[in-house]
């Protein structure tokens, strides 16, 4: 085991010890004088603290923008970190992302600008330049001054940047220097990042109070907002078995530590509508680290992935030292932030069966903002329709109870019926009666119940409505 955090910062190797493991990357970088990294919210919602994280992959670095405010320092072990200061070349010339932002008048007060430079620098490594990709790349960065138009202009003009030669060297150095798993202790805290599941379960057995961390986009808030200081953190992010996406027969198996960004392709292939929903989870910075495993284990009533997983009939594989077991996603979450997970047990993977060819799959998220918002209501449907008749239906809603729920009442109202607007409305009535939402800042109970019902109607227009009629805003020509 290795007691020291090793990473690259702006091209130079760094070795750290002695700092409490819950120190955030933001706090540490600012302490180093790298003040381009700003605190705008300390909750991963504004992007002012964005930095690039390079992960060694196939002898190169895979760069993503992440929020430094909710990242614990040991999470960058084995990675390369670049701040806006490090984007500019040694000769003082600006990175194209920086030059374009300045030239298009994409800065006003400038406080968010280093974060935007990072978001665009991450985009510069990818070949796509369509507006959807661009909007996805900057959705996690708030600007209160410019109205974004010049920033979008800068993004559209961005060249595709090839990896620098030294990146392969850095990747190799990191692989070599961090070959041993991290077991970091300082200031009364411990951060362990085992490489295999047995080792992780062994640590959990000896540290029953440990925080189990995958991406940390939720646990990070306990540090920055609730000011908790974990005594021990067990990171699953480097456990090989949990980091893979694979196919087993008709099933897609997504490891619990796979970030959303890396699971997106497989999910979109299963159901494009669910892929579109995953693209609306947090923003790029969150999806680069946040995981479906974490979303499940957190058991938040508004977790975006649960309704589609339930509708698709997905199951979760769990492991502890006592052995492994599989639980249907709908049975996994038992209450408000409560699951069937036993002490010492972790989520290994989620297994999603491919929907049948005759199955219509749709996932809807209703929020006041398209990006980086929490749903007032979300819903997912998997409907098998044969000869115009619904033969099988799985329906789940989020945001309507203390946990996301499958609604058998709605399924009954659909199954065996002709797939018509009347059926959809009747099922909508059933949905309105079945859900028990609460009122909060995101919507009243009445609004939520109404929308749950109306989403059945949307489902009909969306899957069976007349051709040429835009039934959703996304289907509207010219809509963003």
């Amino acid at each position: 085991m290795r007691p020291e955090i090793r990473f690259f910062l702006n091209g130079r190797p760094c070795r750290l010890s002695g700092l409490p493991p819950h120190t955030t990357l933001l706090e540490w970088l600012r302490g180093q004088g790298l003040t381009a990294v700003k605190e705008g919210c300390a909750e991963g919602d504004c992007g002012a603290c964005s930095v690039l994280i390079g992960t060694p992959r196939r002898a190169r670095l895979d760069w993503r923008a992440v929020n430094a405010c909710i990242l614990m320092l040991p999470q960058v072990d084995g990675r390369a970190v670049v701040t806006a200061e490090g984007l500019a070349r040694g000769d003082g010339s600006l990175h194209p992302a920086q030059r374009l932002l300045a030239d298009t008048h994409g800065t006003q007060c400038g406080f968010c600008s280093p974060g935007f430079a990072i978001a665009l620098a991450a985009l510069a490594r990818r070949p796509e330049r369509d507006d959807e990709t661009i909007l996805d790349a900057i959705a996690g960065n708030l600007c209160r001054c410019t109205g974004y138009r010049p920033i979008l202009e800068a993004a559209r003009a961005l060249p595709v940047i090839a990896p620098a030669v030294e990146e392969a060297e850095i990747a190799a150095t990191l692989e070599r220097d961090c070959a041993q798993p991290l077991d970091y202790r300082a200031g009364g805290g411990r951060f362990v990042a085992p490489r295999d599941l047995d080792a992780a379960l062994a640590v959990l057995a000896e540290e029953p109070e440990a925080w189990v961390l995958a991406g940390g986009t939720d646990l990070g808030l306990r540090i920055t907002k609730r000011h908790e200081e974990p005594r021990c953190v067990v990171s699953l992010a480097r456990v090989g078995e949990l980091a893979a996406v694979g196919r087993e027969g008709r099933d897609t198996v997504i490891g619990a530590a796979v970030p959303y960004a890396d699971a997106l392709e497989a999910i979109s292939a299963l159901a494009p509508s669910v892929g579109a929903l995953v693209r609306r989870i947090g923003a790029a910075q969150i999806r680069a680290v946040g995981t479906i495993g974490g979303n499940l284990a957190n058991a938040s009533p508004i977790g975006d992935t649960l309704p589609p997983l339930i509708a698709l009939g997905a199951s979760v594989e769990l492991a502890s030292r006592e052995g492994r077991r599989t639980v249907a996603v709908e049975d996994f979450v038992t209450g408000y932030r409560k699951t069937v997970l036993r002490p010492g047990e972790v989520v290994v993977s989620v297994r999603i069966p491919a929907p049948g060819a005759a199955t219509l799959v749709r996932a809807y998220k209703v929020a006041r903002r398209i990006d980086q918002d929490i749903a007032a209501v979300s819903a997912a449907f998997a409907l098998s329709v044969e000869d115009g008749r619904v033969t099988r239906a799985r329906v789940a809603f989020g945001g309507i109870a203390e946990r996301p729920l499958r609604t058998p009442e709605v399924e009954v109202a659909l199954t065996g019926r002709l797939w018509s607007l009347e059926t959809a409305r009747a099922a909508g009535e059933a949905a309105r009666r079945a859900v028990r939402p609460i009122s909060d800042v995101r919507g009243s109970a009445g609004y939520r119940a109404t929308v749950c019902g109306n989403l059945l109607e949307r489902l009909w227009w969306d899957t069976a409505g007349p051709a040429g009629v835009a039934a959703t805003l996304d289907a509207l020509e010219g809509a963003p």
Binding site: H105, G110, P114, R149
Partner: protein, 769 residues
């Protein structure tokens, strides 16, 4: 080097390159002085309570804690009211809202200060709290006496009107959400002096308040600000709270103290845009022409007056927007609630007043079955027909809207698209589109006349380089580069020859806040005047050298010229030095032609008006209330722009901020007065995807008829209100579901939930599901 001069050029923000690299230093980025302490606030958990004890024993035992201060520790006068009095820095007896700072702790680290603050035990007797704007309005709970703007005989005329309509609208408040939260660093100096680095739009006010709090003369306090990470009005009066607490702690500990509010604290403690309850009665003739209007504009001021009197005054003076009210009585009501003390925010009451006018216009057009654009044009101010006097008795001159509306109707293809939208809606069962035009006429000058003055200080060094200082502050709006452009133009030197410096009270005293869109109008003129003073002296020197009259000397193309003579600027400067001629001057400007009687609410408060017009198209989902912007066309009047790139940025940024205000930004308090939306996870400002995908912005650059700095116009606030077109377009989409004459009931912000509610009401009115 850029070419000499610079006014009207689209040059980049002076800090643009520094912004993107992170080189631009904000207050919290500065190296901390030796021994610097960090402060944290102790805030009231009660909306209204009489404090009986503040027990700091446990807090003081936390390692690293240096001091705690309460009202009793303020050496001078415990009052930071910007306009009136009785707004203590820390309340001596009564906490008036959840989040009211009642004490503050200083410790060696921010974490220690936070922990100590959480250990301070407050005891209090809860008092009855009033949390709701409508309740305060109905119970007549005011922080200030009601004011009235009166012209003609509105009651009699209303009674006689052919058509009479009543209306009411709730318009929500808005959190500034400057990306940089509030921050101040107070550094004790010799002789008990205090240096305060403050993220403030109003350094002079911070200086005066710190002096008052510490009981020392104003000359003993210096306040400096290089840049802010956004202000929008939120760092005008309310920066004094943060700076004041840092200064009191610094005085008590004799050490530097920094107070930086984290996002949740900032949102919980500081005031926001006032939400308004708007009610009106309007009398019309048979054509739809307004005969008389009465309005109540009731503002949630929160627990104290702050700047509310001026906010309400501006709301009243913009409740006409662009329309002639022959007879009008507009009442302004300053409602007191046990919530944050609401404050300045871009537009300063103007947007809320304008929402009354525009909603009323929409109601008139729909009720009468007339085209909303036609009704607006029918009621526009019109000099030729004598319809040109405002409710505050100022005569409207140089009214640009009729031709601007003409122009945007053509450029936006309004009538074609109107038909297309109607046709789309006729065949669209779920999605509905809406289209709307809205004009803006915004008065430029502070309503409080004495604030319309500014000073500048210009030094020319012997190498020809120039150091510029003035009272305006930089919060991202590009003020410093604009004023530098003015000075570069005056001397005909490249922009790089003019050094932009931090705003400090010890260089230019007694300044006004950088507010009311006035920054470049006031400071640009003051700096120009200083430059002209030095130019006059240099012209004498050049005249002597060239053997011509001083009046023949010109500063052009980077040279000082007269006839066939020409010398580089730096050479004349050196000659002036040798001739013992002063190369430094102050400049001073006061806005001409304005007067306003605040008690009678009449006069000529505005030097001129800035105009704008927008056409927006949106789509709504009638099943969920979600919506999308489709296209917005903006035409905005910037006069002879000092910097078209900066001005375009102001127009676009203001529009998107306004769009946020009217659609997605919602402040929610619980029944105990706790603000639930205190971070970006719950309070949603627009992201890049919320901007209209088809966004066409045009600047109207006709010179200002008034003699402003290079005939430019103020631009900070007016385009904010162009976003009303988006809100009206949402109403238009909803109206398509109702019967003819249906007036949608849609409050602001038009959240999906409110839109869906309005959809249901429209369908019910039409007898449909």
């Amino acid at each position: 080097m850029s070419p000499p001069g610079g006014v009207h050029a689209a040059v980049a923000h002076d800090s643009a390159r520094k912004h993107v690299t992170g080189e631009a230093v904000y207050l919290d980025d500065m190296p901390e002085p030796k021994g610097c302490l960090h402060a944290h606030l102790v805030t009231s958990p009660w909306p209204h309570a009489r404090l009986t004890a503040i027990d700091a024993a446990a807090a003081l035992a936390v390692p690293g804690v240096a001091a705690i201060v309460t009202a009793a520790d303020i050496p001078g006068v415990n009052d930071i009211a910007p306009a009136f009095s009785s707004e203590p820095l820390l309340p001596p007896e009564v906490a008036e809202y959840v989040g009211h700072p009642v004490a503050a702790v200083a410790a060696a680290s921010p974490a220690q200060a936070r922990e100590a603050a959480s250990l301070v035990r407050l005891e209090a007797t809860p008092l009855p709290a009033l949390l709701d704007l409508r309740e305060a309005y109905e119970k007549k709970r005011w922080v200030l006496d009601p004011v009235e703007m009166l012209r003609g005989e509105p009651d009699a005329e209303l009674a006689k009107a052919a058509v009479r309509l009543d209306g009411e609208l709730m318009v929500g408040g808005q959190e500034h959400f400057y990306l940089e939260t509030q921050c101040a660093l107070a550094v004790p100096q010799e002789d008990g002096d205090m240096l305060v680095l403050s993220g403030t739009q109003h350094p002079t006010e911070v200086q005066h308040m710190v002096a008052r709090l510490l009981g020392i003369p104003q000359h003993a306090v210096a306040v400096e600000v290089r840049r802010m990470g956004g202000g929008f009005g939120g760092k005008e009066s309310q920066a004094t709270l943060v700076a004041g607490i840092a200064a009191v702690l610094a005085r008590k500990t004799a050490r530097p103290v920094k107070l930086r509010l984290d996002r949740d604290t900032d949102m919980t403690v500081t005031g926001k845009r006032h939400d308004f309850l708007l009610r009106w009665q309007v009398g019309l003739d048979g054509e739809g022409r307004i005969r008389a209007v009465t309005m109540d504009l009731a503002a949630r001021c929160g627990w104290s007056a702050d700047l509310s009197a001026a906010v309400i005054s501006r709301a009243l003076s913009h409740a006409d927007n662009a329309y002639f009210y022959p007879h009008a009585r507009l009442r302004g009501l300053a409602c007191k609630t046990n919530t944050q003390s609401n404050t300045a925010f871009r537009g300063f009451g103007g947007p809320q007043g304008m929402m009354a006018a525009e909603t009323m216009m929409d109601q008139i057009a729909r009720t009468l079955g007339r085209d909303p654009v036609a009704i607006r044009r029918l009621n526009f101010y019109a000099r030729e027909s004598g319809c040109d006097v405002t409710p505050y008795h100022q005569r409207i001159e140089h009214f640009r809207l009729p031709s601007m509306v003409e122009r945007i109707l053509a450029s936006s293809e309004y009538s074609t698209r109107r038909k297309a939208v109607d046709a789309f809606n006729a065949g669209s069962p779920v999605i509905r589109k809406g289209l709307a035009l809205s004009p803006v006429k915004f008065g430029i000058s502070f309503n409080k006349i004495e604030l319309n003055q500014a000073g500048a200080l210009v030094h020319v060094y012997t190498d020809g380089s120039i150091r510029l200082n003035h009272g305006g502050t930089e919060m991202g709006q590009g003020l410093l580069v604009k004023v530098a452009q003015v000075v570069a133009e005056a001397f005909s030197v490249p922009l790089e020859a003019v050094k932009i410096t931090a705003t400090t009270t010890d260089k230019v005293p007694n300044t006004s806040a950088t507010a009311a869109s006035s920054g470049s109008d006031l400071n640009g003129m003051a700096a120009l005047q200083a430059a002209e003073t030095i130019k006059g002296r240099l012209a004498e020197v050049a005249a002597a050298r060239f053997g011509v009259a001083a009046s023949e000397v010109a500063f052009a193309d980077g040279m000082v010229r007269a006839g066939n003579h020409a010398l580089p600027f730096a050479e004349i400067v050196q000659e002036a030095y040798r001739a013992r001629v002063s190369l430094s001057a102050t400049g001073y400007y006061r806005t001409p032609r304005i007067d306003f009687d605040l008690a009678a609410m009449r006069g000529h408060p505005f030097f001129y008006f800035a105009h704008g017009v927008a056409v927006s198209e949106v789509a709504i989902d009638t099943l969920t209330g979600e919506w999308r912007p489709l296209r917005s066309d903006l035409l905005h009047d910037v006069g002879s722009s000092l910097n078209p790139a900066i001005d375009r940025g102001q127009v676009e940024g203001a529009f998107v901020q306004g769009l946020g205000w009217l659609t997605m930004e919602e402040l929610v308090w619980d029944g105990e007065g706790r603000l639930l939306t205190h971070g970006p996870s719950t309070y949603k400002i627009p992201t890049g995807r919320d901007v209209p995908p088809d966004f066409r912005v045009e600047l109207l650059t006709l010179p200002n008829e008034e003699a402003t700095v290079f005939r430019s116009k103020a631009v900070g606030e007016p385009p904010f209100m162009l976003a009303i077109s988006v809100w009206l377009a949402l109403r238009d989409a909803v109206a398509s579901l109702g019967p003819a004459g249906h007036v949608p009931q849609l409050a602001a912000p038009a959240t999906p939930e409110r839109i869906l509610g309005a959809v249901a009401a429209a369908r019910t009115a039409g007898g449909r599901r």
